[in-house]
């Protein structure tokens, strides 16, 4: 039998209403996509989008049913178009749901990241304090974290050039301070009360300046390191004993607290 005859028979059968024309591939795709999307996370995340997509599919199904015996190309075209739109609506609902989930995940990650960052910062600061305590005495005071270095560790009597073995200690200090980004450091020079007060004042200022210069040479930003000399004005022990005077001859490095 020729192709033409077959076609004629099919047309006749369709006209008689006993054979349903196969759905256009667009409708089959719309059905499958709708099914997938309604079963996915979009059902919970984006119910209105899923409902819109379902309504569009129903419309395409209706068009298919209405024109099921009508094989004119115009009607097929319309059904296929409606099904195409139904597929897209389902995909849009799906993509929107996935974007909403990503946004939720993003908020969660931002929170976790903030916690991890502050933990790391705290850890870094305590690491630095620990490193400093190997070099001198570290105390927590209202003015900040204070590192006290005995004067005769750093300088020979009456001198303001750093002793050879002071360098390795100040290297440790520089490394630790560099981890404290954004802080300001104040280097204070102090003397005992022996001798000329004006000379002591000058000496303490020069010693603080020397330490400051050395720390900057090791990479600390110059605008973050300040130096000041107090002479004999701020003793930490009585000057009446040799032991007390030794305690008063010192350099203090104050890690000033964050303004925040």
């Amino acid at each position: 039998m020729s192709n033409k005859v077959w076609k004629g028979m099919l047309m006749a059968a369709l006209a008689a209403g006993c054979v349903k024309a196969p759905p256009p591939p667009e409708l089959e795709e719309a059905r499958a996509t709708n099914k997938r999307v309604s079963a996915g996370p979009a059902a919970e995340q984006n119910p209105s989008g899923v409902a819109d997509a379902k309504a569009a599919l129903d419309q395409a199904e209706q068009s298919y049913d209405d024109h099921v015996y009508d094989v004119t190309r115009e009607a097929d075209y319309y059904t296929a178009g409606a099904a195409y739109v139904a597929t897209r609506k389902a995909q849009v609902a799906e993509a929107e749901a996935s974007a909403a989930l990503a946004a939720q995940q993003k908020a969660r990650l931002q929170k976790e990241l903030a916690i991890a960052q502050s933990q790391r910062k705290r850890l870094r600061v305590s690491d630095a304090a620990q490193a400093l305590s190997a070099v001198g005495r570290v105390t927590e005071e209202a003015r900040g974290t204070v590192l006290t270095l005995g004067g005769n560790i750093l300088f020979a009597s009456g001198q303001y050039n750093l002793r050879e073995d002071a360098l390795s200690k100040l290297n440790v200090v520089a490394v630790a301070l560099k981890t404290m980004t954004g802080r300001t450091f104040l280097v204070e020079g102090h003397t005992d009360s022996t001798g000329n007060p004006a000379f002591n004042q000058q000496l303490s200022m020069k010693r603080a300046g020397t330490v400051r210069e050395y720390l900057i040479s090791k990479g600390l930003p110059s605008e973050q390191v300040k130096a000041v000399g107090y002479g004999k004005d701020k003793p930490v022990a009585p000057n009446s004993t040799a032991e007390g005077r030794a305690k008063n001859r010192r350099v203090e490095i104050v890690v000033q607290p964050n303004p925040s």
Binding site: E74, Y77, Y78, G81, A82, Y84, V85, R88, K89, Q91, V92, A95, E96, S98, A99, A102, A103, Q105, K106, L109, Q110, E112, L113, A116, Q117, Q119, R120, L123
Partner: protein
């Protein structure tokens, strides 16, 4: 009788064939959807760009159908254009959010590894 019927059919056919322009808001809706997709960066993300391209082609075709007096085909084509463009927008936004999640996850991993 037959003549009257033939005339009636002829009139109906003529009416159907007469160039009925497609509603301008349907064209506008598609054009707007395409602009939105471009604004969302759909042309820079492969998963979205293909739908934007489809939409642009369909808009052209839809306008052509409208010009040649096929409003129904024009409307169908314009609806396809509108929803291809909307999918391009949704895919672009999805891609942007997912990239952001990936960036944060990487950063979190880096911060945690350094502890």
């Amino acid at each position: 009788m037959l003549k009257a019927l033939t005339t009636a059919v002829a009139i109906v056919t003529l009416a159907a064939c007469a160039s009925v322009p497609v509603a301008p808001e349907k064209v506008q809706a598609s054009e707007q959807a395409i602009q939105d997709a471009q604004a969302a960066g759909a042309d820079r993300q492969p998963s979205a760009a293909k739908y934007l391209e489809l939409a642009q082609g369909e808009l052209t075709q839809g306008k052509r159908f409208s010009d040649t007096g096929e409003p129904r085909k024009a409307e169908t084509m314009l609806a396809k254009a509108e929803w291809d463009a909307k999918l391009a927008t949704a895919k672009a936004k999805e891609g942007t959010s997912q990239a952001e999640v990936q960036r944060l996850a990487d950063e979190l991993q880096k911060v945690s590894a350094n502890q």
